[in-house]
């Protein structure tokens, strides 16, 4: 079973459908082997309309590069991806980080909202992950 991603520029992306008791929708995730957890960022919280009651405070700190962020857990989210054999679904907790956009100038807010959510190792490592930019192939296989 193969889930194929796509390159936008030189960056590998995968489409996923998320569903929980509080929200559902589509996300375009940057495959990021540097991220330990699959994490939603500010833009996707807005697009998905994730309500405050869906957010649990994260028990573990999230460390990244730059900016002041608040971190949350989204419990029991069904993640579905498209494979050559049809829908591939699993359930897990996701992380969500929110920047403190109210304290930033508009041009910085715009840049932060451009940041993609990331597909982390918690999901990537369940598969054989192939990322060959030269051949234009990025995929998850098992």
């Amino acid at each position: 079973m193969i889930i194929r991603g796509r390159f936008i520029g030189d960056a590998p992306y995968f489409a996923a459908h998320l569903r929980s008791a509080h929200f559902q929708g589509l996300v375009w995730l940057l495959a990021d082997t540097g991220a330990s957890r699959t994490t939603l960022l500010d833009r996707d919280r807005r697009l998905l309309g994730i309500p405050a009651e869906a957010l649990e405070p994260a028990l573990l700190p999230i460390v990244g590069i730059g900016g002041s962020v608040r971190s949350f857990l989204l419990g029991d989210v069904e993640i579905t991806m498209a494979s050559d054999e049809g829908d591939v679904a699993s359930r897990q907790d996701l992380w969500l980080v929110q920047h403190d956009l109210g304290r930033l100038p508009p041009e910085e807010v715009s840049r932060i909202l451009r940041l993609p959510s990331v597909l982390g190792r918690d999901l990537i490592n369940r598969f054989n992950f192939m990322c060959d930019y030269q051949a234009g192939i990025v995929q998850l296989e098992r």
Binding site: H17, W28, L47, I65, A82, G86, L113
Partner: protein, 76 residues
């Protein structure tokens, strides 16, 4: 084979690829604006993300991207 969500995902992916392939033309018309794309068509645009979302019937199932000439180096 269960295709319910797969079809949605392929369409969503195709819209992202469409933006990438048509970026030069989109830059002429929508520079520094958020755009929403579905089935290879721009549904709405707005310089402000909240403004764009207010124009969309279903933002959670719509491809949304910011169109700009400013490159963004990301270290995530």
């Amino acid at each position: 084979m269960n295709n319910q969500v797969t079809n949605l995902l392929f369409s969503f992916e195709a819209d992202h690829m469409w933006i990438n392939e048509n970026l030069a033309r989109l830059l002429e018309q929508y520079v520094d604006q958020w755009i929403a794309v579905k089935n290879g068509q721009v549904l709405a645009s707005d310089p402000d993300l909240a403004g764009l979302l207010s124009k969309l019937p279903d933002p959670a199932h719509t491809c949304v991207e910011f169109i700009t000439r400013e490159s963004l180096e990301m270290v995530l």
